[in-house]
């Protein structure tokens, strides 16, 4: 009774749903071709004219200074009479007041005394095991130049080395890559940046040559060099310095070598060579006698110069430290001829030594004159002490123990008269503050042991809180000093005067 049925499906058309597809047609468009035409213009006549501003006339500023016959604003006299007493009383009180005498406001944060900002390396020099022999800041204070070489080898080395510069103010400073690398044939033993032109650097080489590089030239940075002439040094040049010459704005280069010669060169830019301006030779026989210098002339006939310092106060004076421990004050204008056989030099050699200080037992590695007092200078050598001398007496005023090993460099701070820094062979750098009661260092930069001996340091005279330090492992570290070590306090100059006046009568 139930059977399967197959039914047809039934579909019901939607009443409301209609096809949404609307009519469609396609249109295209095309921009018309652009019309272009060429035309030329040529000036037919030209005229030149220029303008110049007149110098500012002082007489025109009378808006603020009424002429004597004009009337004063009403009430001025009454006002002045009212305030005069108060003001004069306050002025007197200020003159006598001792309030705030020692108060020094410190707006910057009080952080640690020293902190390392950058650690700059030149990988290819490090691979060759070169040490940093000298660092120098440019006159603008933003570029640090480093010389690579060796400080321990006694033999003649012919290994090529380099001079690298880094610009610390550039944004893309890469500590592993120098901004500029100048390749040099032999080790560079001394370096000094020009005090006025930021592109010039002078360097002394192990072979005795003195070179000036111009870092603004891209092709060949060597501007002037001494070459191996009869005039030049035969021994390594341990110090070079820029010396202002008679004509204002001109500088010469003073170089000192371990052969006992101190030579003053002027650059001849046309030929690219140095011309010898003056030559000084130091021989033991011509060292001025004093009760301290009791040694006879030894086998060596020269006084090897290991350090040199120019006095910023007296353009005639320079200080020389020797390998044998002698510390001499010399004069540029000395006329005594030197007792050495003339070796075909164009200029007669002169003996410059004027005064001898108490000698040391080992080579004097570094001397620096104080920028704040004309008579003071500090010297350091292998005895591990820093000696503070006055130009007026032979004995040191003060001897500070820096370290057990030798001290390679000392330098006065450019901003604080009583502060100087000393770099020691065991790697630490001590910063001394003479204003403190104790003779221990105010701050110490410790890093590494004897394999990272600190060989050279340089304060930045523009940004006085920066200190550059070169080490034997080929790195140059830039340290930042705190406010205490760089800001001058009110009584420092007078304290420095007191120290300098301790000269025995």
């Amino acid at each position: 009774m139930f059977t399967d049925e197959a039914q047809e499906p039934v579909s019901i058309r939607s009443a409301w749903r209609t096809s949404q597809q609307s009519a469609q047609d396609s249109i295209g468009c095309q921009t018309r071709a652009v019309h272009s035409a060429e035309a030329e213009v040529q000036t037919l006549s030209t005229a030149v004219s220029w303008t110049q501003t007149q110098p500012h006339d002082e007489a025109q500023e009378q808006l603020l200074q009424p002429a004597a016959d004009r009337l004063d604003p009403p009430g001025l006299k009454a006002f002045l009479q009212r305030v005069e007493d108060t003001v004069i009383r306050e002025l007197d009180r200020n003159g006598r007041s001792h309030a705030f005498d020692e108060f020094q406001v410190n707006w910057e944060d009080q952080s640690q005394p020293v902190s390392c900002l950058h650690c700059l390396q030149h990988p290819s020099a490090q691979e060759r095991g070169l040490h940093v022999t000298s660092v120098s800041w440019s006159c603008t204070g933003s570029v640090i130049a480093c010389a690579f070489g060796r400080t321990d080898d006694g033999d003649w080395i012919t290994e090529p080395s380099c001079v690298c510069t880094w610009n610390l103010d550039r944004r893309g400073l890469n500590p592993k890559q120098a901004d500029l690398v100048i390749d040099v044939a032999t080790a560079v033993t001394a370096l000094c940046c020009h005090p006025q032109q930021p592109a010039l650097i002078t360097g002394g080489l192990y072979s005795g040559e003195v070179v000036v590089w111009d870092t603004s030239r891209t092709q060949d940075p060597v501007l002037v060099q001494t070459g191996m002439s009869a005039d030049s040094h035969r021994e390594p040049v341990y110090q070079v310095a820029w010396v202002p010459l008679q004509k204002a704005g001109e500088f010469g280069v003073l170089s000192a070598c371990s052969g006992g010669r101190v030579l003053l060169w002027t650059g001849d830019l046309n030929e690219g060579r140095f011309v010898l301006n003056a030559a000084y030779a130091l021989v033991p026989q011509q060292v001025p006698h004093s009760s301290y210098v009791s040694f006879k002339a030894r086998g060596s006939s020269t006084v090897g110069v290991t350090s040199l310092a120019l006095s910023p106060w007296d353009p005639d004076t320079f200080l020389v430290g020797s390998e044998g421990g002698l510390l001499l004050r010399c004069s540029f204008s000395s006329q005594t001829p030197a007792a050495v056989p003339s070796e075909g030099h164009n200029v007669t050699l002169r003996a410059p030594a004027v005064f001898v200080f108490r000698p040391r037992s080992g080579p004097v590695h570094s001397i620096h004159c104080s920028p704040f007092h004309r008579n003071l200078f500090v010297s350091a050598g292998t005895d591990g002490r820093a000696h503070l001398h006055s130009l007026l007496q032979a004995d040191p005023l003060l001897s500070l123990r820096v370290s057990d090993s030798s001290v390679f460099q000392v330098q006065w701070s450019p901003s604080r008269p009583l502060v100087f820094a000393a770099a020691a062979a065991q790697g630490e750098v001590h910063i001394f503050d003479l204003g403190r009661r104790s003779l221990r260092p105010a701050a110490t930069i410790e890093q590494g042991g004897a394999d990272q001996a600190a060989t050279c340091l340089a304060f930045n005279s523009q940004n006085s809180h920066l200190l550059a330090l070169g080490r034997t492992n080929g790195t140059v570290c830039i340290w930042q000093l705190s406010h205490d070590l760089t800001e001058q306090s009110p009584r420092e100059i007078s304290q420095l005067e007191q120290i300098a006046n301790q000269v025995a009568a």
Binding site: E61, L64, Q65, P66, A68, L71, D72, P73, G75, L76, K77, F79, L80, Q81, R82, V83, E84, T86, V87, I88, E90, L91, D92, N94, G95, R96, F100, D101, V105, P371, F372, P414, Q488, P490, R491, I493
Partner: protein, 107 residues
């Protein structure tokens, strides 16, 4: 009479300037324009403008703290010198005085 008044004004100012360690004096009128000065013009204009604002602010501070109080005199000690300001409704007298223990720095 204007002549002698002017002379008296000058005399008073000279007395103030003759004081030890005074570096300069400026008298400013009610609109903030300097009418007498012993410094150069650019410095004077800057001092007048800035110190006028500062004096008004100081005066408002004192009056806000206590409406019956008023400012008599303003003295600022800076690292390099002292700045003294004698304020009034109409005029302002600015005196710049050096410290007694002045610093000598390397040029």
């Amino acid at each position: 009479m204007a002549g002698t008044e002017h002379d008296q004004v000058e005399e008073t100012l000279k007395r103030i300037e003759a004081n030890k360690y005074v570096i300069g004096t400026i008298v400013v009128n009610a609109e903030g324009i300097p009418i007498r000065t012993t410094l150069d013009n650019s410095t004077t204009v800057v001092y007048a403008q800035l110190l006028r604002h500062l004096t008004m602010k100081a005066r408002n501070t004192v009056r806000d703290l206590d409406p019956q109080n008023d400012i008599c005199f303003l003295r600022m000690q800076t690292k390099k010198h002292n700045i003294l300001v004698a304020p009034e409704n109409n005029f302002l007298l600015i005196v710049i005085q050096k410290h007694v223990n002045s610093l000598r720095t390397f040029p």
